[in-house]
Symmetry: C2
Subunit: 319 residues, 2 copies
Amino acid sequence: MPLHEFELIDRFFSRLTGGDEAVSCGIGDDAAVLALSPDQELVVSTDTLVSGVHFFGDADPYDVGFKSLAVNLSDMAAMGAQPRWATLALSLPQADMAWLQGFSRGFGDVAERFGVCLIGGDLTRGPLSITGQILGTVPAGAAIRRSGAQPGDDIHVTGTLGLAALALSLLQSDRESAAIPPSSLERLLRPVPRVQAGLALRGTANAMIDLSDGLAGDLGHILVASGAGAVVELSRLPCGDGEGVVSEAEMLRLAVNGGDDYELCFTAPAAARDAITALAGAADCSMTLIGKVVAGSGITWLDEAGNAMSVDAESYQHF
Amino acid sequence: MPLHEFELIDRFFSRLTGGDEAVSCGIGDDAAVLALSPDQELVVSTDTLVSGVHFFGDADPYDVGFKSLAVNLSDMAAMGAQPRWATLALSLPQADMAWLQGFSRGFGDVAERFGVCLIGGDLTRGPLSITGQILGTVPAGAAIRRSGAQPGDDIHVTGTLGLAALALSLLQSDRESAAIPPSSLERLLRPVPRVQAGLALRGTANAMIDLSDGLAGDLGHILVASGAGAVVELSRLPCGDGEGVVSEAEMLRLAVNGGDDYELCFTAPAAARDAITALAGAADCSMTLIGKVVAGSGITWLDEAGNAMSVDAESYQHF
């Protein structure tokens, strides 16, 4: 009986999540928001990477360290938060010095790039697994939640979609494949979180999420939280360049359903288009208009002729 | 090449831990302390429990849930912090509803008892492992660190020592043993963090730590952090009641070296003895004077005749 992560949390942990007035935003968004002082809120998120599930057991430890912090920073980006501090809980089968050195270099390069300070940790013996927790700050009331999308809003995504999923699908069929475009492998192994773009979108985006499980699933989370639907024009999706390794149709399928892109998907009023163009330039990050929020529910995918078409809309399920 | 957790962290992660003036206290104490507002500091800690390492794989999920939050709360207690919010990263081999139900009941009972609100989580597929992160608050400057012990301070411990280690040693030799005193099993499986005692000791204790790895090792951490030594009178140790299952000498050895008690060890000026007696009563928790902080380094263990004796001073090593 596979159940989605959110259903499991709702089912078993909901009695633990309420009743604290300092919690501006609890479980169910990219991060929690705590009102700790009148002018500033604390943003808190946690993410786990497990060997054999989220990365190959023989993965380069540099890449594992890089990604383990990057995916947590992506949750900060999705809230429009400034990442500040991290804790690291690391389970390792044994104290492997070479592995730790590589891991700490990768983790550290991301921490330095984004100005994150490591404040705590727990090293335990066990199957290889990394749980990062990230703490960030936003001005009070400025966090960008999933629930703010309004019918009539434009829907935008940053960067390109589908390359990480392309690399993963090729690696899963052949670990030694020489056909994997280097740019797609880079996206899978060392995703760069859109922290600057997330900060720049404060005050402009009405709702935002990071694309970890795939556009279909993650945009779906915005729509459920906002009580709205969406129309997305498939021809507008900024698919990554598959370099001829797969068909355009397959690249489109990966852009819709593939996870691990760690781009941002956000909604904003149509009146903000010029502002978004300007801040995309400032954040050095493309932002592409892909559709509209509408009344109703669910996502309608339109082909070039404007006909609704079905896409395989299963995003990554945690169980 | 077994290395202790702290050495590993120092060796590989030290470049990531500095340079942020909001970090009042970083890696190396029971929790980190962040100065987020003029009057209040945030206290942050994380702890992982791994199946087969920190609990038996077939352990009652209620107990696993209970302990996974309790050990994190113990870190708050050791800082004199008020626990407020938790995140939970849970890796499970499959979505086992019965297990999740038991786990969430245990976790929830501790959360409710101590007023902790669950604000975030990550459920992933993987080997059974739980990483809790706890956030608490203290008035600015009130956190009780490991580094504040002064020569001349008394050394106290809360509660009793050694029972959790007794239960563990008996379980390790015979999982079905009927000889395990129920009180010791309770201490191993469902340790009650000394949150009230920790709060009560603000302004009185100069240094504090929780006893997770054993008195010898954990008091040793206080001494290293404080640049001091200690003399401990073994006859004063509040050994738990082994109920005749083991000798008194073995019970003493467990009290010195056994982990998992989750009691507090703290130092305070001798002038505070009456105050400590009073607050022990208020916190409904015994506090026992066991020795003195002295100039120098290391722990001198005295027998009843006042002669220094050697104890096997190896606390739990994470690798």
